[in-house]
């Protein structure tokens, strides 16, 4: 049985619209995914029928809202196969998740301690660690990539040492789509007693993640990259580690008892969830998980891989086109440039044709510096895209090239 892409496309209202009088072709899924009606409906339903503050209300609405929100936590626990539900922290997104951990490490790191960071990280997984290092005297070391954008694991052996406290690395590069061998990295880190934080923002809607099997220490993601709403995400951490990590923000929800002489903190997960959370967002996140499950992540991955291979082969027919990170192990992202043409020009003309791509540095300036380029054109595909759309993209790029050269 084939992948029922037409039926799936009908679930996404936005795919019906036009841009510049052309049917929208949305190839900017790595920036944010589109939302199926099931997720939009969940938000509308919550605000229409269940809206109340959660966890402390005495009334029925509050109880219903609390149940719906906490049910979403259960869905996340099962989707990622975490051992305990308290290990799932709702956050505002991946950036927030990373900052929670990095902030906590300000009290853990000692001068001379080392954090190893991948060279192809999003700025969100670089800057919080630089800030933590600046404050503690710890040192940030860079795990380099090779010309294909893949981490040099050989170099990791040399970087790892008794001072290594943490390795922070993405599961999938947002700029290139390359999948990192995180299993191996985690094993190596653990063998010397270091911990690993994985930025999973670009992986979660493409790769099935089993947190227990992976044995990762911290894993982060954003709902909006997985068909869910913006402004909500997840921090997973092993229970013992999260218990040892100091809280990030103070406020309501995260406390047990408050006296002016001193305050005791709530247990997990609430210790890291200060203030009224994004309740609708959490519920929408749960709806997105249900939606992805209804299609199946393995089926999604297989279909997207077909799209990737097709797009890669077709784009390569264009003279002077170079793909960055052209490797086997990658998600459906094609990051490219055409010799002699600025990526911004290509993106602007594609936009006129109704095709949405991202151009620029993709919040990963070190990757662009590594290649010595101002940026790339990034077409990032999702399971609701089609080969016909790829054909239009390829024709569009060719047309842009003819105009620009």
């Amino acid at each position: 049985m084939g992948f029922a892409v037409e039926k799936i496309r009908a679930d996404f209202p936005i795919l019906q619209r036009q841009v510049h009088n052309k049917p929208l072709i949305y190839f900017d899924n790595a920036a944010t995914s589109q939302k199926p009606k099931a997720v939009i409906d969940a938000l509308v339903h919550y605000y229409s029928f269940q809206n109340a503050n959660i966890h402390r209300g005495v009334h029925a609405l509050s109880q219903e809202a609390t149940d719906a929100y906490e049910q979403a936590r259960d869905q996340l626990q099962h989707f990622f196969n975490a051992r305990h539900r308290q290990e799932i922290i709702f956050t505002a997104g991946t950036t927030h998740s990373i900052n929670i951990v990095a902030h906590g490490y300000r009290s853990i790191l000692k001068p001379g301690d080392e954090i190893i960071v991948g060279q192809a990280e999003h700025h969100s997984n670089i800057v919080p660690w630089q800030m933590a290092c600046d404050l503690t005297g710890a040192v940030l070391k860079v795990l380099p990539i090779d010309n294909n954008g893949q981490l040099k694991l050989q170099a990791l052996n040399e970087l790892l040492g008794v001072k290594t406290k943490l390795i922070v690395v993405n599961h999938v590069s947002n700029a290139l789509g390359t999948i990192n061998p995180i299993e191996e990295i985690i094993e190596k880190a653990h063998s010397i007693g270091a911990k690993v934080l994985v930025d999973g923002a670009q992986a979660s809607s493409h790769i099935k993640v089993d947190l227990q099997k992976l044995n990762v220490d911290y894993y982060t993601t954003s709902a909006h990259k997985m068909c869910g709403p913006t402004g909500v995400g997840m921090l997973y951490g092993k229970k013992a580690l999260l218990e040892a990590l100091p809280p990030y923000q103070g406020g309501g929800e995260m406390i047990k008892e408050v006296y002016f002489e001193g305050t005791t903190y709530a247990g997990l997960p609430h210790k890291f969830e200060a203030g009224t959370p994004n309740i609708a967002g959490g519920i929408g996140f749960g709806a997105a998980i249900l939606y992805l499950n209804s299609i199946g992540l393995e089926e999604i991955a297989a279909y997207e891989h077909d799209l990737l291979v097709y797009a890669t082969d077709e784009l390569k027919q264009i003279q002077g086109l170079k793909i960055y990170g052209d490797v086997v192990e990658k998600t459906a992202v094609v990051s490219f440039n055409i010799e002699g043409i600025h990526p911004y020009d290509v993106g602007t003309l594609l936009d006129q044709m109704g095709i949405a791509v991202r151009t620029g540095q993709h919040c990963a300036q070190p990757v662009m510096d590594f290649y010595g380029i101002p940026g790339t054109v990034r077409a990032s595909l999702a399971f609701y895209n089609t080969k016909e759309e790829i054909d239009i993209l390829v024709k569009g790029v060719q047309r842009a090239v003819n105009m620009l050269l």
């Binding site: 020009d345 006129q352 101002p374 105009m403």
Partner: protein, 140 residues
């Protein structure tokens, strides 16, 4: 009040219905850009706020201001070229006072992506800053 150069630009762009044709025209105009000399392609002349690099320089000759520029992106070159055509050869005070609604009239600002529109605003601002400096210098 629009200058004659601005009026010409408006009329020129009105000839094209399709935005792809307008872009084609912009690309052509990029080729007529009075290029900044290589030695001035430094951080001192770079305009911030653009996703592509833009260098812009102004000179005053016999009371009139002349601009030269360059960019690493072709469409950006076209946009700077349009702006330079609109403002080059005017007196500093005229540039300071010049309206910029011709940009809206040719539909350029509506049709640019937010990052590019910011870049456009930054370019106009820089041109007016140069003119303001010359005007102050002349009055001193």
């Amino acid at each position: 009040m629009s200058s004659q150069a601005q009026q010409e630009i408006i009329e020129e762009f009105a000839l094209f219905d399709d935005w792809m044709d307008k872009y084609e025209h912009l690309i052509e105009l990029g080729k007529t850009l009075p290029l900044i000399q290589e030695q001035y392609k430094t951080d001192q002349y770079i305009i911030k706020g653009c996703q592509s690099k833009v260098w812009l320089r102004a000179e005053q000759k016999e009371g009139f201001v002349y601009f030269s520029a360059d960019s690493d992106a072709i469409i950006t070159k076209g946009i700077v070229s349009v702006l330079i055509r609109a403002f080059s050869g005017m007196s500093p005070q005229d540039i300071v006072n010049a309206p910029t609604d011709f940009i809206n009239e040719i539909g350029l600002s509506d049709h640019l992506s937010p990052t590019r529109a910011n870049g456009l605003v930054a370019m106009i601002k820089q041109m007016k800053l140069y003119a303001t400096a010359f005007a102050a210098q002349n009055n001193a």
